[in-house]
Symmetry: C3
Subunit: 438 residues, 3 copies
Amino acid sequence: MLDTLSSAVLSRTPAIDLHDLVSELFPLNRSLTGDGVRQTLAIVGRHVDLAIHEVPSGTPVLDWHIPAEWTIRSASISSMSGQRLVDFADNNLHVMGYSKPVQAVLSRAELSKHVHTLTDQPDLIPYRTGYYADDWGFCLTDRLWRQMTEDVYRVEIDSELSQGALTYGEVFVPGQTQQEVLITCHVCHPSLANDNLSGIVVMTALAMRQARRTSRLGYRFLFLPATIGALAWLDRNEPNLDRIQHGLVLTCLGDSSAFHYKQSRKGATVDCAVAHVLKHGGYPHEILPFSPYGYDERQFCSPGFDLPVGCLMRGVHGTFPEYHTSADNLDFVKPEYLDQSYAVIAEVLDLLDRDAVYVRIDGRGEPQLGRRGLYRAIAGQREAGGATQMDLLWLLNLADGEHSLLDMAIRADVPFARLEAAARLALEAGLIKPSVLP
Amino acid sequence: MLDTLSSAVLSRTPAIDLHDLVSELFPLNRSLTGDGVRQTLAIVGRHVDLAIHEVPSGTPVLDWHIPAEWTIRSASISSMSGQRLVDFADNNLHVMGYSKPVQAVLSRAELSKHVHTLTDQPDLIPYRTGYYADDWGFCLTDRLWRQMTEDVYRVEIDSELSQGALTYGEVFVPGQTQQEVLITCHVCHPSLANDNLSGIVVMTALAMRQARRTSRLGYRFLFLPATIGALAWLDRNEPNLDRIQHGLVLTCLGDSSAFHYKQSRKGATVDCAVAHVLKHGGYPHEILPFSPYGYDERQFCSPGFDLPVGCLMRGVHGTFPEYHTSADNLDFVKPEYLDQSYAVIAEVLDLLDRDAVYVRIDGRGEPQLGRRGLYRAIAGQREAGGATQMDLLWLLNLADGEHSLLDMAIRADVPFARLEAAARLALEAGLIKPSVLP
Amino acid sequence: MLDTLSSAVLSRTPAIDLHDLVSELFPLNRSLTGDGVRQTLAIVGRHVDLAIHEVPSGTPVLDWHIPAEWTIRSASISSMSGQRLVDFADNNLHVMGYSKPVQAVLSRAELSKHVHTLTDQPDLIPYRTGYYADDWGFCLTDRLWRQMTEDVYRVEIDSELSQGALTYGEVFVPGQTQQEVLITCHVCHPSLANDNLSGIVVMTALAMRQARRTSRLGYRFLFLPATIGALAWLDRNEPNLDRIQHGLVLTCLGDSSAFHYKQSRKGATVDCAVAHVLKHGGYPHEILPFSPYGYDERQFCSPGFDLPVGCLMRGVHGTFPEYHTSADNLDFVKPEYLDQSYAVIAEVLDLLDRDAVYVRIDGRGEPQLGRRGLYRAIAGQREAGGATQMDLLWLLNLADGEHSLLDMAIRADVPFARLEAAARLALEAGLIKPSVLP
C-alpha cells in the first residue's frame, strides 16, 4: 500500500500540459449548443474515453426544454464606406450568444440598443448572452464605440437558430463499488480562459488520472453546457442519483487567487474533505457557505435533489475584474495555478477514495503495541510508516465504527495521510477491521 | 397583496398620539387593584374593544389568592404645627403601595422605620410597594427627609384593604386561524411613565391597529396587574394556551435606550423574528438570554406552561437611574421613542402573521424563470416586486417544506419582506405551494 | 442538611499532612511491580481500608500479560580503581526500570549505549524505564558522565525478573446507591514527587474523607501501576463498569501550575463539574480536549469501555522542566498546592454527590414565595440559607425534570452551592420533589 501511496503522490502532477490545452481550446466559439461545444469535446476526447450525448432541441428536461441549436458563421459592424469596424472573426466575444440573424443599416441610436460595452473598463470586450431573448447584439470595447461617431452603420449577423441538439460529454471510470463521485464543469463559454477552460482542462486531466487507477469509488466527469446541460443530465439519470456520495463543480481554477470552496447545501463529507486538504496543504483559502447562485451546484443542490455537491474555485465569479471580459484570456490563467488546482483536487479525490471506517477488534483498553513492534521504546515519538505514535493512538482510540479516517484526522488535527498510515499499521497488526458508519 | 403590504408599512405609525395618552394616564394612582386600574382601563377602552375582567378578592389562582382591594383617599406627614410636609395629593409615589391605614403621632425615630428615601439620588422619590406586607410607608426625597429634624410628626393614611376585586383588561382580535399571538403589559404602577405607561399606550395603539386588519393569527392583548394578573389570566385560560404561537411582554418602550430583547425560556420563532426586525431595521439593540426575573414572561415561561414568550424593552429594569423613581416621568419618555417602539413591534407582528412555509411544486432543478418573466435578462440583478433575482433563487432553493420564510431570510441574511416578495412571485408563477413545517 | 454542608466545607482540608506523606513515600523504589509498590500501599493502608490485589505474572489481562516481577537489590558503576561513581543506593532513578542483571567490565563506548543523560539539563538525572525491553541501563547527570573519561568501567546490577505478581490497591466506600465514582492514580514511579506521589497522597486523603461520610454515590479509589494496572482492574471488573457514573484520574497535583483538566472522550457530567468548580472557585485553569495520550484515562476511555473519565492535573506531563527528572523532588511539590488540589477535588465530589434533579410540584406560574417566607420584601435581593432570591427563581424555573442542579447552576452562571441552597429552601417549602433525568 505504500507503493500505491507513493504513486498517488507522484500522480498529483497532470499527465498533460494544462495551459497548452487551454490554448488549443481557446479560439473555439462555445455556446449552450453548437459546433463549438462539439469541437471542444472532440479535443477532450483525444485524452479520455468520452461519451458524447446529443439531446434534440425541444426535448423536455424537467421544467425546461432543450433550446434551438445556435450556429453562427460571421458577424460584423461596418461603416457605410465598407470598413469592418467590429468582426466576429477577430474575437468571438463580439457577438452576443444566441444572436438571431440580422442584416440592416441602422442609425447609431438604433444600433446602440444592441451594443454592449464596459464604460469602466473601456479597453475590454464584455461577454454577453441572450439564450432565450430573441434578440441580437454586439459586444465591443467602450473606447471603440466612442470612436464610432458616424450616423449610420451596416450590421450583419449570419447566424441560425434551428432544430439541432444540446451536446454534453461524460467520462465514467467505474469503481470497485457502486458509489460514485460526480465532478462537473461547464463548457458553454466562448473564448474565456479561466471561467470555463480552466475547469475543462483540469477535469480532463483528472479523468485521465482516475482512468489509470483502481479506485473504490466510481468517478463520473460531466462536461456540461451550464444549467440546461446539468438539468438534461439530471433528468436522464434520476434513478441513479443515490449512487452519488460526493460531488464537486469545478470552475475558475487557473488564476492567481486563493482557493474558494463553496459548501454544499446540506453539508457533506466533501465539504470536510476539501477544507481538510486546503488547510493541511497550507493553501490560502476561504470556505464559503452555500448560496443558490453560481454554477451547476445550483441544480445539483436544488431541493428535489439536494446532492452532496460543492464548488471549488480560485477567483470567485463576479469578483475579479477580468470576469466575463476579453481579459479572461490566455495570459490570465497560469500553468502553475492550473497544476496546483489539479493537485488539490487529486488529493481530495484520493482522500475520499481512501476514507474508511474501522473498528477495533478488541477496543477494551489499548492493545500492547510493544509486542507488535509498534511501540517506540523509551518515551519519544518516532515515525513508523508515516504515522507518529500519537497518530496510531488516535486511530486506535477512534476506531469505534463511528468515525471515518477523515473524522479522526479532523479531531486529531493532523493530515489525513497520517491517520491512513496509522490504519495501515493497525490493519497489518490485526488490531482493527473494516467497518461502516452506522 | 402588494396593496396589503403598502398599507402595512404605512400603518406602522400609531393612530393616536402616544405621548398624549401617557400624559392622560400619568396622574392615576394605579396599584395591583383598585380604581386606578379601572380608570386606566376605562381610558384605554375608549380606543379599543376592551373586555374588563374582575376577579374577586380571595379567589384562588394557581398557587396564589387574589389579594384584598386597596383603596387610598389621602395620606400625609405633617409637623405638629400642622404643616403638610409630605402629601399623597402632590405625588402618588409618596405612599407605599398597599399601605394600611394609620393615624398617629410618632417620633422621628419611629417614623424613620416607615420612610423610604434614595440617599444617592437625594432629589428623587422612590417607588415602593408592600403588597402582602401588612405595613405602611412613605416615600420621599432624601433631601426633604434630612430637613425634617423635628422630634415628632403626625402621620395619616386614609386607606382601606377590603373585599373587592382584581381588574384586568383584554382585547382579542380573532384571526383566520385558531392560532394566537399573546401581547401583554403591566398596569399596576402609579405615576411611572416608562415602566408601565409606555407599554400600555404602545399596546393600546397596536390593538387598534390589529383590530382594523384581517390577519392569519389572532391577537390577544392583555392589560395585567403584574404577576397576580398574569397568573389569574393563565388560571382562567389554561385549556386554550396551546393556541399561543408567539408572545411578547412589552415594557419600558419610551426611553432613549437601545432596544433590549429578552429571549423566551425555550427558544422560539418570536425570538428570531424580533432579532431579525431589529437587525435589518438597523436599530441599535442587544439580545438578552432568558432569566427568571423581570416581567410577566416569568409566569408565561414557568416550567408548567413554557410558552414561547419573550420581552421587548428599551431600557432594562433596574439599570437606568430613573427606574422606579419620580424621575420616570413625562419628560423621560419621548414621542419619537414611543413611535419607534410601536413601529418595531408592528413589523414583528406583520412578520409573524405573514411567515409561511412553502414547498416547490417540482424542486428538481431550478425552474425556467425566463419563460415566466422572472429572469432578469443579461446578468444583472434587478428588482421584481421588491425581490431581487437572488431572493427568488433563495426562495426556490429553500422552499422544501422545512424552511419558513423567516428561516430563509435568516439564511439568506436579507430582510423578511424580500423573501416574502419572492414568495409572491413564485406563487403567482405556480412554482410553489403552501406547506407546513414537519 | 445545612450541618452537612458546613461539615463538607470544613472537610475540604485534608485530615493528614499531605507533604509529610509525600516525604515518607519518596525514597521507595516503585516500579510496575515489586516491593516498592507493596511498601507504598502498606503506608497508604495505614490511613484507609485498602484491599491489596496481587495478579500473578503471566496472567492474561485483555490484550496484555502481567509481566515478570522486578526486584533490584543494588546497582553501580565503578571505576576500575573501585570508586563507586553511580550508585542505586544514592538515588533510585540511577537505574533504568526493569533493568536485567549485569556484571561486567565495559569500555566507555560500550557503556555509553546503556547510559541516559539530559544534555540540556546537565545537573539532573533522567527517569527511564524499559519494562518490556530486555535491556539494562543507568541514568545519571550529564555533568558526571562528561567527567567520566576513563576507558573502562565496572558495572553491576543485582536485579531479578521472576515469576511474581503485579500489585494494586483498592478502597471502596459504598454509597446509598449502586452508582459509583471512580478515582485513580498511578503508583509505579520511583522517587518522583509530583508525577506520582502527589496523586497518591491526595487520593489517600480523599479516600479517608469519603470513608467518614455518608454519600449517595459509592467511591472507588484505585492505586494502580500505570497502564497494565488499569487494564488488570478493567479486566477483572468488566461486569460492573456500568456502575461508574463519573471518573477522575489524578496526577501532578503538587506543583505551582494552574490546574489543567482534560475532558473525557465522550463528554460527561464530570467534565462540567470540574470546569464549574474551577471557574467559580476562581482557580486559574485550562480545559483541555481529550486526546489518547497521557495517563490511565487512555484505558478508561478506550472505545470498548468509553467511560466518563477525565484527568485532573496542575502541570501537564512533558511540559514542565522537572518532569521525569530528579528535579521532581520534595521541593518541587508544596503543601499549599497539594491542599488546594485536595480541596478542589473534594468540592467536585461533593457536587457530583449532591447533584440532583427536581421537578416543580406545580410548575404553572411562580409559586407565591411571600406566604412561605421566601420572598425578600420590598425589592432588594437578600440571602436566604445561602441562596439569593434570583437563585431560587432559577431553581423554580428550571425544576422541570430535565435540568440537574449542575445544569441550572451553569445556565444561571452561579456556584452550584447556591442552587443547592435554593433547592433546600424549595424542598422544605414543598415546592419541588426529587425526579430523575429523562
